[in-house]
């Protein structure tokens, strides 16, 4: 599964780790994140992420 990087702050969403602090289980693909999920560091929404090279 692809990692996605936040264009605002540089945070990397790693599907293997998920985002447990926001209730996202490890193993959740970026595409499967809820629409209202935001970057845990800076609050940017999903549209501000791009696939990591």
């Amino acid at each position: 599964m692809d990692k996605y990087v936040c264009n605002v702050c540089g945070y990397v969403y790693d599907p293997e780790a998920g985002d447990p602090d926001s209730g996202v289980d490890p193993g959740t693909a970026f595409a499967d994140l809820p629409a209202d999920w935001v970057c845990p560091v800076c609050g940017a929404d999903k549209s501000e992420f791009s696939k990591e090279d």
Binding site: V8, V41, C42, G43, A44
Partner: protein
């Protein structure tokens, strides 16, 4: 700086740093201030502290108003050390058990700066705190300019304590916009260009959000420089304008040089741009500070960069400004590269790659001249400048 009452029961108890000239790589030719705000109500509140080393002055300023031990609540709007550096001493002095309010990210970040187990209260966005006759509201402003950044707003006094936003590095006894004069806007612009430019899209969203929730602002108290009380709308409008990054009809030619060849090229290119009616200026990197160059970048349409080739590479100062510029994410720019070289001539290609990575609209090919430009070479540079000038005029 002595404590100054800025509204009934609200004081600026911050300090002046007259002598700082290098603020983490940003040139502060007029020094700076670290503002901290004391509100005396049924509860006594201190908003932010000052840089480490100035804590005694802060305590002295507070003591002119009230015994610092009577402070009931500490608020940290921003974790960065110029505002939190005195926290250990202040918390120790006022009592380690006193509540320390900060954002949720502030809670994490302060804990990574200081090992003390303080009585943290991580606030939710929009959370309110009653302190007697006043209610303070906390507004998360993540990445403006750190993850922990927040504003504190007092609705009764209509004061926004805005942390680093709307600040300026300016040391002076003048504490308000109506006292300091219009030159303060150049310091505010430099601050925006060097600290906040990369977060421009978030600033536009924040200004929109502040309008939506109908925040009534009569005074803005940033953590650096003067307080905006006469016309706080002016600095908000300037932030909106700068954030939109709509460039002026302007080009800057930023270069370094070893034996004046790249300099000659820079000046000929600038003259060519100017001949097309576009404001142009050659800027020699070692005669200017990177933070002043960034202020010029903010509203320029074309960023033209020149470097000699040194040992198959860029001249080091050119790498410095390119790295710094890239991080600040300038938008809507035309880019162009040039340079003199002796035998290998990699510099133009290397500059172009950097500017392309910043998504600049490139004028290709760049301009390379071996050794010293002769009159034909300078005429080519002039024409290259005209080409850049025409591109600026088309946009």
């Amino acid at each position: 700086m002595r404590a100054v009452e800025i509204a009934k029961g609200v004081y600026n108890v911050g300090v002046i740093d007259w002598n700082i000239r290098d603020f983490h790589g940003y040139s502060t030719e007029k020094g700076s201030t670290y503002n901290a705000f004391l509100i005396v109500d049924e509860k006594v509140v201190l908003i932010d502290t000052v840089k480490k080393g100035f804590e005694d002055q802060l305590l002295d300023n507070i003591s002119r108003i009230i015994d610092p031990k009577k402070i009931d609540i500490m608020i940290s709007n921003h974790t960065e050390m110029d505002h939190s550096g005195s926290l250990p001493k202040i918390m120790h002095y006022i009592g380690e058990e006193k509540p320390l309010y900060c954002s949720k990210m502030g809670l994490k970040n302060l804990a990574q700066h200081f090992k003390q187990q303080w009585n943290y209260h991580g606030v939710e966005n929009g959370e309110e705190l009653n302190i007697g006759s006043r209610t303070l509201t906390f507004l998360e402003t993540r990445m403006l300019h750190w993850p922990d950044s927040m504003f504190t707003y007092c609705k009764e006094d209509k004061i926004l304590f805005s942390s680093d936003a709307f600040g300026q590095h300016y040391a002076g006894y003048e504490m308000f916009d109506d006292v300091v004069g219009h030159t303060i806007m150049s310091h505010a612009k430099k601050y925006f260009a060097n600290i906040l430019m990369l977060y421009a899209p978030k600033i536009l969203k924040l200004i929109e959000h502040v309008g939506e929730i109908g925040l009534d602002i009569e005074m803005i108290c940033p953590d650096h420089g003067i307080i905006w009380r006469k016309d706080p709308g002016k600095i908000i409008e300037a932030y909106a304008q700068w954030s939109r990054q709509i460039p002026e009809k302007k080009a800057i030619v930023v270069y370094d040089t070893m034996w004046h060849s790249t300099q000659k090229m820079a000046e000929a290119i600038s003259a060519g741009i100017s001949a097309e009616g576009v404001s142009a200026r050659p800027i020699h990197i070692r005669s200017s500070h990177r933070s002043d160059i960034m202020t010029e970048v903010l509203d320029a349409k074309a960023i033209v960069v020149g470097s000699p080739t040194l040992n198959n590479n860029l001249f080091p100062t050119v790498s410095d400004i390119l790295t710094y510029m890239k991080g600040l994410k300038p938008k809507n720019k035309i880019g162009a590269a040039f340079g003199s070289y002796g035998w290998s001539g990699e510099s133009v290609k290397l500059i172009s790659a950097e500017l392309e990575a910043m998504k600049f609209d490139m004028i290709e090919p760049g301009m390379k001249i071996q050794y010293v430009p002769d009159s034909d070479g300078l005429a080519s540079c002039m024409e290259f400048g005209r080409q850049i000038g025409r591109a600026v005029n088309r946009q």
